[in-house]
């Protein structure tokens, strides 16, 4: 088995008597792109700072390329020089854009000609060649972010750490940065750990996602796994499972179960047993709406009344009361065709296999 580039063993951090990171263990192999997602205050930044060896954990071990990083300050500096970190709120040094991008290379003692070539490549990559001589302090937020990315990538890091690389940006700048990052990831085969609270961004860029909640790494898996089979209610909410119903398994027949949700029976696929308390997650886009009872293969077809309908972009978001509130997403066009609006009686249909059943603790 190959040695992981980064290995965390029971990493622990407290601050002002509060546990910020609780025994985090994680391995990241070379070439992997991992996204850490989690709500604000989950500990993403804290974890990235520890991985970048800026802060020391209060417990646990951090191995870089198989060697314990607590060993010596010299090794920590050497290891840090093989990584790069784009901070959540990037800052630039009070010098020219060129010097900002060149600094990491200078500190590594690279010769001037090589630096010039590399910096010019980076400027081109982020589309800021014309800004070369400008004082970086005079740049806009989005431009600074681009410089921060260029500065980090310039050193050709083996491990690139990104903390919310697009969080403070307008949509256009965010897309530009994301495109740049995608390019870097594809071309350089660099290992990336990025923090984001944008689930969609995690899905777009990463091949593995770690969910961090309240200082704990609660689930890791492929974006698909996290998205369709979130490990608990909080993750489900976080990844956009808008409909989360509380229920009890009423009966089972093999994998097929009947779940009692507030007196309404729902069929779902699960390995839970009768009597277990569960949450049922239904993605709004998996709910279809019809004006009459459909005779389809879908096992669940519930009558209800629309309580709210609002369009956003090409989609229309419809809230239905079927004994419990249920949110559905339909295209704007079909919403108009059916004349969906408040007070209309409809049937909400969803497949048993599209439901996600989570055991409640």
């Amino acid at each position: 088995m190959t040695v992981p580039l980064i290995e965390l063993r029971d990493i622990y951090k407290t601050r002002e008597g509060r546990d910020i990171l609780k025994r985090i263990s994680l391995r990241v192999s070379r070439g992997e792109v991992l996204a850490l997602i989690g709500p604000t205050g989950a500990g993403k930044t804290t974890l990235l700072r520890i991985i970048n060896l800026l802060d020391r954990p209060d417990g646990g071990e951090l191995l870089f390329n198989g060697t314990d990083t607590a060993s010596s300050d010299k090794f920590r500096l050497e290891s840090r020089r093989r990584m790069a970190f784009v901070l959540q709120k990037p800052v630039v040094f009070n010098s020219s854009v060129y010097d900002n991008i060149a600094c990491g290379l200078k500190w590594r003692g690279i010769d001037r000609h090589q630096i010039t070539t590399r910096v010019n490549d980076m400027l081109e990559m982020v589309g800021m060649t014309d800004y070369c001589k400008r004082n970086a302090r005079t740049l806009s937020g989005g431009e600074m972010q681009r410089i921060a990315v260029a500065r980090a990538v310039a050193t050709n890091p083996e491990l690139l750490l990104l903390d919310e690389p697009t969080a403070n940006l307008d949509p256009v700048s965010a897309i530009k940065i994301e495109e740049t990052l995608t390019g870097i990831i594809r071309q350089n085969a660099v290992t990336v750990i990025m923090a984001t609270h944008d689930m969609a961004q995690g899905q777009r860029l990463a091949e593995r996602i770690g969910v961090l909640a309240d200082g704990e790494l609660v689930q890791t898996g492929t974006p698909g796994e996290i998205f369709t089979r979130p490990g608990n209610r909080d993750i489900a909410e976080f990844v956009g499972m808008e409909n989360l119903l509380e229920g009890v398994i009423a009966s089972c027949e093999g994998e097929m179960a009947l779940i009692d949700v507030n007196g309404t029976m729902i069929e779902a696929v699960t390995d839970c047993n009768v009597g277990e308390e569960v949450s049922v997650g239904i993605r709004p886009e998996n709910v279809t709406i019809a004006l009459s009872r459909l005779s389809s293969s879908a096992r669940n077809c519930l009558p209800g009344t629309i309580t709210w309908a609002v369009s956003s972009g090409p989609l229309c978001r419809v809230e239905i009361d079927c004994g419990f509130p249920l949110v559905a997403l339909v295209t704007k066009r079909s919403a108009e065709e059916m004349g969906l609006e408040k007070g209309i009686k409809v049937y909400a249909t969803f497949k048993a296999v599209s439901l996600h059943v989570i055991r409640r603790r």
Binding site: R49, N52, L54, L77, R80, R81, M83, A84, F85, L87, K89, P90, V91, F93, N94, S95, C103, G104, W107, R108, R151, A152, T155
Partner: protein, 228 residues
Amino acid sequence: MGELWDGFLKALELIYTFDPEVMQIAGRSLSIGLTSIVIGSVICIPLAGLIHFNQFWGKRFLVSLIQTFYSIPTVVVGLFVFVMLSNVGPLGGLGLLFSPAAIVVGQVLLITPILLGLVISAFRGVDQTILDTARSMGASGWQVAVLVIKEARFGVMAAVIMGFGRAISEVGISLMVGGNIRGVTRVITTAISLESSKGDIELALALGMILIFISLVVNIIMNRIQQK
């Protein structure tokens, strides 16, 4: 009144004819002041870094103490240096008393608190995130320190210029440990106080104007730096 006007005209004449005596005194003032500020900076900028970047017991008290000494009277420093360098003092053997070197020693002591204090505040103005960024970009301890000085350069420059201003305009130290010896330790300020008391108002006025001119140049340089 007419006498004063005459004195003023003669003073101007002394300046634009580059009177050797006036030029010599002004030059000595400048070179002693510059020597003091260079030595002071070489000592104080790294020392300020040491104080700022290390956590130790009594740090806050030390900084307050430094600030207290900003306005220490020059004659107190002069007296201290005089005692140290006099024949009976611990450094009397060096034979420095009444030499330009003695003035430099005194001026360095005088400006050390201002330099230290202002450079520490300049370093404080450099955000923690700048340090984090530098470290994450692979800067070693030394490289971070150099970067901080660069980031704080305007504040550091202002401190150096303030220090120079205080050194060149002080009179107490130059008089007490320099002795105002003609051709050796006579500087602008001591000459002004001596000549005006002797009634040679022209020379005093000429030197006074030169001192103001030096301050003006220093201020212009400082403004230039801050506009950048």
